[in-house]
Symmetry: C2
Subunit: 355 residues, 2 copies
Amino acid sequence: MAKTTTGETVPVRQRGVTMKDVANHAGVSRTAVSFVLSNRENASISEETRTRINQAVQELGYRPNAGARALASRRSDWYGIVTEIVTAPFAVDIIKGAQDQAWLDRRFLLIAPSDQADAVGPNEGLEDAATEKLLEQRVEGLLYAATFHRGVHVPASANEVPTVLINCFDADGKLPSIVPDERAGGRVAVERLLQGGHTRIGVINLDPNIPAAVGRLEGAREALAAAGLELDPELVVSGYATADGGYDAACHILDRYPEGGRPTALFCLNDRMAMGAYDAIKERGLTIPGDIAVIGFDNQELIAAYLRPKLTTVALPFERMGALGVQTLAALTAGQPILADQQLVDCPLLERSSV
Amino acid sequence: MAKTTTGETVPVRQRGVTMKDVANHAGVSRTAVSFVLSNRENASISEETRTRINQAVQELGYRPNAGARALASRRSDWYGIVTEIVTAPFAVDIIKGAQDQAWLDRRFLLIAPSDQADAVGPNEGLEDAATEKLLEQRVEGLLYAATFHRGVHVPASANEVPTVLINCFDADGKLPSIVPDERAGGRVAVERLLQGGHTRIGVINLDPNIPAAVGRLEGAREALAAAGLELDPELVVSGYATADGGYDAACHILDRYPEGGRPTALFCLNDRMAMGAYDAIKERGLTIPGDIAVIGFDNQELIAAYLRPKLTTVALPFERMGALGVQTLAALTAGQPILADQQLVDCPLLERSSV
DNA sequence: CCCACCGGGTAACGCGCGTTACCAACAGCG
DNA sequence: CGCTGTTGGTAACGCGCGTTACCCGGTGGG
């Protein structure tokens, strides 16, 4: 506890070592310390005092005050990311990718959850409070990350700094975005099945209106068309994006042609549905991949890597999208042109044991 | 000021509006603006100038500079959390709980990943770089969060500021920590099985040396002892903490007494192993929960909520631990005494359909 | 001998804000 | 009348640092 002049006690606040302390300790001016610490090459400091200063830094355990530096230099070295991912962790790898990349660029990533506004007042926009908080910290750029690929509306204040969307796109403007190449993913999945000799393929579809479903299905059709085939509409069934939904859809598909003509492969548009499909297949005494090959989408590790047999699936490149988002932001803040308004990121096929 | 078509005015925000600009616009001194914005009750500002200032704030779209405020007031309103969770997202709810609580306390949570030091140099300690970064931001308190309950070593610099450990404990010191009450969790799980009429219970154990295994097993034994029963050592099998490990262990347990005496319930010490156990049970033509009741631990949503039947399991209170960590930190920074060096948090039973 | 130049530094300003000390005007009171 | 409060403010300092302008003592060139 420390005492003020009035005698009252306040929480102890360690008086930090400042550049002035370092300067005194080294017997030089604070300016010299600043020059040495910021490695200015055009500053003329002799090698001897330079080492003396560095030694003082070590001895005193000096640690720069990032806030003061930001204030004086007018750059914070921070990016902010507004995301619902913290509360819906499915796509947490976006944060990881972004954070790693930011770290490489010697920048810091400030993470703000996008759904906490209701904690302060019911009428505030969801992301607005988070965005505002980040701007108060004077972030140099903003990222918005969604848990699933969709269109979003970004608060107006986002226009004050460079902004990039990750795993979502600007529903009403021209903000640059990074999204998965759903179509190529659908294509590669079905190509893999074709390559395995499957020509009759059932599809367990998501809500047909969301971008993921549209793209993946389109890709699937392309792959089939390239082989001179097409989807049997009877074998494309939508369901809730859950294991139960996948189970129901799989039952429907597997039982559709009792007389013969049952598909030999199932393309499940997400892994949770594939999980349910497994049950439906096993229930019927069929084996995976012997009787029915299954391929998923998303690569949700907890599911895909632990199902038995392990699920072959198409991965959503979350980490890569996060990194690319930061790179794009870096280009924007540096005033460089970016490659495209919308960057598509490849969805690689992960071979396991279900095909 | 900009006007919309409806004639309502919308603040046009531009970077660089300072308190001085607001003061000029309102025709008062900057001090007056500061007083109004920080709501000092002992400052004497007339109601009229107060509204004039607030109006100027609106019109100019003034946004405080958090860094400058922190510099002048010598408090940042930030806590820092060092965590491996970003890279191993299992326990991401810790972050959510901490962030929500911090938000309620009008504080901000700075998240630093604990494994990025190798990006700058191979010789730096893992958490050290992250901790250092946070201290440079002048966080007022530090949290360390682990993905699984264990002992950890924290960098020495953490001592400069109040520190609380979440889901881990200080292996060599006296830092306060928040951990799940594994023992009570094991007890409640087995009590539930007993209540269901099960007296012969198989246990799929984790690595027997980790705190989670020790506590949960101890709790299980307590519950049995209270009913005058005890574990059959032949029915306690350790395995890798994966679905495959659970499958193997379950096979072992289920086939141990071919002549009769097979357990009617399985206590799986985590949900991934329960997932594998499901397969072993189904393979043998047995039903869940009809023939074999299964109870898990961890409540890993992606698994527990999607297995068929849905898995009854004991939840790890990640979110609550995160919140409690922040509360404890708040008490520490305010100089208040904390309840205990180690706070145990209850692990509630989540009833689904597997018992 | 004077002057330009260069190496090696330092003084001083300002970033945006919290905070303390102070000041002017006016009312109430004896 | 002087004195004391009270109301409604303002001037000025400093937080820790980046940055610019400047200074001083040598040195080489003319």
